[in-house]
């Protein structure tokens, strides 16, 4: 009992640190990557001076995230003359909390047997083993979808309670966009569920740990390429980022639904946007890119297609799997930020047309095709 508590507290700490750390890193990536793409120097003003010396640690502008956080915490908190103070204060939490909760069903590593990590731990943990996942629920993917529904509420509440036309416009746009793209996202996910035959994210990752044609890893990217594209597109639209940033387009709506928020309340909206990048990348990696799987790595070590083996201790395997997941999530997030600096914004009617007349039929077609293939392979 106490062992379970220790392990799950560790998992929760790791999950929160994972999300907040990567989200802060992505604010830096967004600045630096845009600078690289626009041939500028980028964020380089923040530094930490070593005490008693003149040595300034710039570290490629990595400290800008810390400066941002300090600024948002210390700024004055302006509040508008709103007609509903309670809803105004509730909205940032309602937008940020579900995003954090989604991560609880995402597996961030393989199976952990704490007793085998180091010899002294064996007395305490015995032979218990845990899946590296905060909540092992067989509803998996459905929980992701249901929590993202609550996130929409926070956005709408923020726009409505700000008592501002820009905010209300932004909220109406955000809600219609998120509802529209959730449909195609759900359909793309259902075709995945049909392929993997499970809703549990951990089972899905295990399914992807096999090999296709003897050498290619059986990742969702190779078995469901169209669903991958659909999910990626719909997920960026759900996150309300360029090219789908109509709800908060600064050239029309100031900042959209969070125009009237200042200081850390605005910071929560910003942070939840970046945490959402982390969570979406984590889902993308889990569903399509093999999760924590490194090709040819099994629980006992590497097994290469030719038959060569390289046994590894349990500690190394656990660290390799967690590190693989971290690296994949980081790369996927960088790719999404790259999209932001590559594509121009849609017009609103184009956005709706794209969602309903292009993505939705494609997602339906993909689902029908997947079901047919599955039917014939099951029968034959």
């Amino acid at each position: 009992m106490i062992q379970d508590l220790v392990i799950y507290l560790l998992y929760m700490g790791y999950a929160i640190g994972f999300m907040l750390g990567l989200a802060t890193l992505f604010t830096w990536v967004e600045r630096k990557q845009s600078a690289v793409m626009a041939d500028r120097i980028g964020a380089n003003r923040c530094y930490i001076r070593l005490p008693f010396t003149d040595v300034k640690l710039v570290a490629w502008g990595l400290f800008h995230g810390i400066a941002d956080g300090a600024k948002m915490l210390l700024k004055e908190n302006f509040t508008p003359l709103t007609h509903d103070r309670f809803c105004y204060n509730l909205a940032p939490w309602l937008a940020a909390a579900p995003v954090l909760l989604v991560f609880c069903v995402v597996p961030f590593g393989g199976t952990l047997t704490p007793g085998n990590l180091l010899p002294p731990l064996h007395d305490f943990f015995g032979d218990r083993s845990y899946a590296m996942q905060v909540a092992r629920l067989d509803a998996g993917i459905l929980i992701v979808l249901s929590l993202s529904g609550i996130g929409i509420l926070g956005t709408m509440l923020a726009g409505w309670s700000s008592n501002n036309k820009f905010s209300l416009m932004g909220a109406a746009r955000a809600a219609s966009q998120m509802i529209s793209y959730e449909v195609s996202m759900g359909l793309a996910l259902i075709s995945l569920v049909v392929t993997y035959g499970t809703l549990d994210l951990n089972e899905m990752v295990r399914w992807q740990s096999g090999l296709l044609f003897g050498a290619l890893p059986a990742w969702g990217l190779f078995t469901q390429p169209l669903a991958f594209m659909l999910f990626l597109t719909a997920a960026i639209a759900e996150n309300k980022r360029v090219p789908f940033d109509l709800p908060e387009c600064e050239s029309e709506l100031v900042a959209g639904y969070f125009t009237e928020y200042t200081a850390m309340k605005m910071g929560l909206f910003m942070l939840s946007e970046f945490i959402e990048i982390v969570v979406i990348s984590a889902l993308l990696v889990t569903l399509f890119l093999g999760g924590y799987n490194l090709p040819y790595l099994t629980d006992s070590g590497f097994v290469f297609p030719g038959g060569a083996r390289w046994a590894l201790p349990h500690l190394a395997v656990v660290l390799l799997q967690a590190g693989t997941f971290l690296g994949k999530v980081f790369l996927a997030g960088c790719f999404m930020i790259q999209i932001r600096w590559s594509l121009p914004r849609f017009r609103y009617d184009q956005l709706m047309d794209f969602g309903w007349k292009f993505l939705l039929p494609l997602a339906t077609l993909n689902l029908v095709a997947t079901a047919c293939v599955q039917w014939f392979t099951l029968k034959g």
Binding site: D84, C87, S146, I150, I152, L153, A172
Partner: protein
Amino acid sequence: MSGAFIVFFALLAVAFAALVLTQRQPMRAALALIGLMVSLAGIYACLGAHVVAVFQVLIYVGAVMVFMVYTIMLLDERDRSYRQPFSRLGVPALLVAQLVAAAFWSLLGDLPATSPAAAAAIDLFSFKAFSLAFMKQYWLHFELATVLLLVGILAAWTALREGRDG
């Protein structure tokens, strides 16, 4: 342990239900209704019926309440009609509420108070068993519901077209 959680969520649900009735402001009443649905989902999850809990949040909060909040968001706030203390339908509504309560009370007497039935019911609510039963026994009901939804979509579409012409 889970009994304590059930009591906690039940109290929370009753409190939110009271708030739905007493809040005058539509948005706050809607928020209380969302709270009520989430606490009901909590009760289902404590009972082990994860399917029902997930669908409670997915459908009622994620779909129904999102649309309700969307509508309330676009209401004209200068319309003060919701500030009226009582609707004309207040007395009939109270009477119907009494009837519903009485119906539940009489139903409660008929329920078997044994736990083995409940324990067997939990296995029925694992996702696999639920999906199999859904597709094998209740496929006709499911299809009928989809037909109903199709009729609803057609009705909405026609209403929209009529409105555009006039």
